[in-house]
């Protein structure tokens, strides 16, 4: 009968586990790590830097618009600014940060030591970084894309946008989409196959359902944008006629393919936030979430429904009325699952035994803000009414309310909530409340007036307006609010930075959470958990009166993860885990070279495939002994 080790044996066992899961030291370790926590951390750091840059772009734009007829930014600079701001926030921040949170949290919430494909996670980051550089290095060099975050042809076609700006935008998307697809496949496989023994689908926390749905949505949505941007590059580079009416092509084909991706994209950003909010509400209400089944069903239905709405981005294009009516109904219908989610969260707070702290404050801010965005979405969902609202500041207000309120606020709450787990310290509550007040207040002051500006006729993407339009005062208010929220963002980041060294030390479970990540120490060791937890309820840390049930047997001397069955999480086998490897970086560099080259010549695809093939060969190079049978057998002495 196997028994738990004695305390002295346990110390030695932990040391051996630490060794097995350790990275090499220094720069080599940095480049070769496959530790999901380190990979997630580098994603988060990159995202925060990009948010700062995108925020500076936004501030610049708001300064230009604060008064009529200003000359702070001319048209070229302004157009570059909104293109870079939108592209950065949507492709380089919003989706990657959700993936990063998943890469960090999913194994921990599953009581596992790593993800299903550790090297693929490293590769995702390098490719994402390639995408970041693909957009920002040209900006430094002065060839910034300048046609918005969804460059419609013919404006983005070869006739009206010579040079390579549009190609840079299109190829940046290819980078980030390959990275996102790789991360999504990884997350899906981890959630389906690496659950701890006993964590049946019914006992799976909502955050994991949310990430599963968001990742599956990514798999089905992102190929559309990869395809359409490749078609655009092809029109520009090798004279295809996909979007050229003169050659039999269709300008609307671009819009259909783009928005087939673009609409699910915003739900890919929102659905993980649903997971964050549920986790925070549950912990801070000190009761299991009300309506767990309703929440799971709502997330699943959003995942499916989101694919049937894309035409609502094209209501002004002149498509047949009856078709538009269908998309109006579908776009309004998605308010039902969203509305039920809101009810479940508030009902949990209502019937719980709450503790009040910053993460909960962000949840309240989320509810107050996101619901406004959802309701303005109901307005734009009406096809006839949308003809007044689309392409104006009303839409700018709407999508910022849903993206900032619906994704950023929960994300900030999540960062505050899991910060103690990741760093072992608590963030300052006082500074946290101040940051919240500045960000929440500043955001609403900044963006609510934009609803009115849109109704008063102000189109979007204009670099200036004349005094005679009367839009000046509301624009000034919007600028003031936006600037305030940026100050709040700086306070938030400063809080996070300073608390790393000076925050109150946190134990394993400072908030009293119910899910498995709170069982690991804060911060977790390289191997995350000493033993394999066994799950017997939906709230394992709240239902373990006699101690958390665990199993031994997952390897100590070599890296292993326990693979279980898809539905009932019955242990199946022990999978060898990947060791640190340079090949994800090498492969990332090879893919980057091919992507960059193919902006200039189609032959780059052919020649670029060779280094990629070489890198993949290195990646999968056999680690088993040479053959002892067959025509190439090694004749061993």
């Amino acid at each position: 009968m196997i028994a738990l080790p004695t305390p002295e044996e346990a110390v030695q066992r932990r040391a051996r586990l630490e060794q097995t899961w350790a990275d090499p030291k220094g720069v080599w370790g940095f480049l070769t790590t496959v530790d999901h926590k380190r990979i997630a951390a580098r994603y988060i750091v990159t995202v925060i830097a990009l948010m700062f840059l995108a925020g500076m772009l936004a501030l610049h734009m708001r300064l230009q618009l604060a008064f009529p007829d200003l000359k702070i930014l001319g048209p070229q600079m302004y157009n570059e600014s909104f293109s870079l701001h939108g592209s950065t926030m949507l492709f380089l921040v919003s989706v990657p940060v959700m993936e990063a949170m998943a890469i960090w949290l999913v194994p921990l919430m599953l009581g596992q030591r790593g993800m299903a494909y550790p090297r693929l996670a490293a590769f995702s980051y390098w490719l994402y970084l390639g995408g970041v550089m693909m957009l920002w290095i040209p900006h430094v060099l002065g060839i910034t894309p300048d046609l918005g975050w969804f460059e419609y042809p013919p404006l983005s076609g070869p006739g009206y946008s010579p040079g390579h700006r549009a190609d840079i935008w299109a190829q940046m998307i290819t980078f980030t989409e390959v990275a996102a697809l790789a991360a999504s496949v990884n997350i899906v496989a981890t959630i389906i196959k690496l659950r701890p023994p006993g964590m049946t689908l019914a006992r799976m926390p909502l955050f994991l359902w949310a990430m599963l749905v968001a990742s599956l949505m990514t798999i089905f949505a992102l190929p559309a944008v990869m395809l359409v941007t490749s078609m655009l590059i092809s029109d520009r580079l090798v004279s295809t006629h996909f979007f050229a009416p003169a050659g039999g092509g269709d300008v609307l084909l671009f819009q259909h393919l783009f928005w087939f991706f673009g609409h699910p994209e915003v739900y890919i950003i929102f659905v993980p936030a649903v997971g964050f909010v549920t986790a925070i509400v549950e912990t801070f209400s000190r009761r299991t979430i009300f309506g767990h089944t309703a929440l799971v069903l709502s997330v699943l239905s959003i995942g499916v429904l989101a694919f049937g709405l894309w035409v609502h981005h094209m209501f002004a294009v002149g498509l047949p009325r009856l078709g538009n009516a269908f998309y109006t109904a579908a776009s309004m219908a998605i308010a039902l699952p969203a509305g039920l989610q809101i009810f479940c969260w508030i009902a949990t707070l209502w019937s719980g035994r709450p503790r009040f702290a910053t993460p909960l404050l962000w949840v309240v801010g989320f509810i107050l803000t996101f619901v406004i965005g959802g309701l303005s979405g109901i307005m734009t969902a009406s096809a006839p009414l949308d003809l007044q609202l689309t392409d104006t500041y009303f839409i700018v207000a709407h999508f910022h309310y849903v993206l900032v309120g619906g994704a950023m606020f929960p994300l900030i709450g999540a960062l505050c909530y899991w910060y103690p787990k990741a760093t072992g310290r608590m963030m300052s509550e006082r500074w946290g409340v101040l940051a919240f007040a500045l960000i929440f207040g500043g955001f609403n002051l900044g963006f609510f007036p934009m609803h009115i500006l849109g109704l008063e006729g102000m189109p979007r993407r204009i670099y200036t307006y004349s005094a005679g339009m009367g839009w000046g005062p509301l624009n000034l208010v919007a600028t003031t609010g936006s600037a305030t929220s940026i100050v709040g963002g700086l306070v938030l980041v400063a809080n996070a930075w300073i608390s790393r060294k000076h925050g109150t030390p946190a134990g394993a479970n400072p908030w009293g959470g119910s899910t498995l990540e709170w069982w690991a120490s804060s911060p977790p060791p390289t191997y995350n958990f000493e033993y394999t937890p066994v799950v017997e309820s939906i709230a394992p840390l709240w239902t373990d009166k006699d101690g958390l049930p665990v199993m031994t047997g997952a390897g100590v001397e070599r890296r292993e993860v326990v693979v279980t069955s898809a539905i009932d999480a019955v242990p199946l086998y022990r999978q060898k885990g990947a060791s640190p490897s340079i090949w994800p970086l090498v492969a990332g560099i090879a893919v980057t070279a091919m992507f960059v080259g193919s902006i200039f010549t189609p032959w780059a695809v052919v020649w670029g495939a060779l280094p990629i093939g070489a890198a993949l060969t290195g990646w999968f190079w056999p680690q088993r002994p040479r053959a002892r049978t067959g025509p190439f057998a090694r004749r061993a002495a």
Partner: protein
């Protein structure tokens, strides 16, 4: 603050094998994920083809030649025939028969190479250039997408064949062969609707 729960031993996992077959293996799911991604890409490209066709008064548009049936016929026939050795390799991998798997994967490599050459000729006989009109563009789009799958799967199979001969063949390698065979089946299946659309829809419509 909730006190940290102390662990309670309820079992041991050391008895578990270090390998698994088919859908039990975690890599199988990555292969499936990749098929979903590529399959979605194919479906969308097919959607683009049908969309452009619906916008065009004639298909192919006036003056464009129909794509040739000879080389495409060879290719399609060859591809369908390749299913037989592919399924055979799959079975041998499931039964963990080392010698047969080695021969089978080598054979699939040679078959893939032959089909790639046939595909090369097929591309010369599409009857239209990609830059001639939207019809040409979308036909080449579908062909390039599918060809890239033929080529990358060929590369995969070739490297796999080499390593099967140079290194020991363990349980994980049989799983890899199975995954690769499944992917080849996917490549064959993906071709069928594309073949129908490119070569027969313009002739029947």
């Amino acid at each position: 603050m909730t006190p940290e729960p102390s662990p309670r031993l309820v079992g041991d996992l050391a008895y578990l094998s270090e390998h698994a077959d088919g859908a039990r293996h975690v890599v199988w799911w990555g292969n499936l994920g990749f098929m979903l991604i590529e399959g979605t890409g194919f479906l969308l490209a097919i959607g683009a083809y049908l969309y452009l066709q619906s916008q065009s008064p004639a298909w192919p548009p006036g003056g464009d030649a129909l794509p040739g049936l000879t080389w495409s016929g060879f290719f399609t026939g060859g591809l369908l025939l390749s299913v037989i050795p592919n399924i055979w390799v799959l079975r041998q991998a499931r039964q963990k028969r080392e010698g047969r798997v080695r021969i089978g994967v080598l054979a699939m490599t040679l078959i893939g190479l032959t089909l790639a050459v046939v595909r090369w000729f097929e591309l010369q006989h599409l009857g239209v250039r990609w830059d001639h009109d939207a019809y040409g563009s979308v036909v080449w789009l579908l062909m390039v997408l599918h060809t890239s799958h033929i080529v990358t799967d060929l590369g995969d199979t070739a490297v796999q064949a080499a390593w099967l001969y140079t290194h020991e063949v363990g349980a994980d390698q049989f799983s890899d062969v199975e995954d690769n065979a499944n992917y080849w089946s996917f490549v064959v299946l993906a071709w069928l609707p594309i073949y129908g659309l490119i070569y027969w829809l313009p002739r029947l419509a």
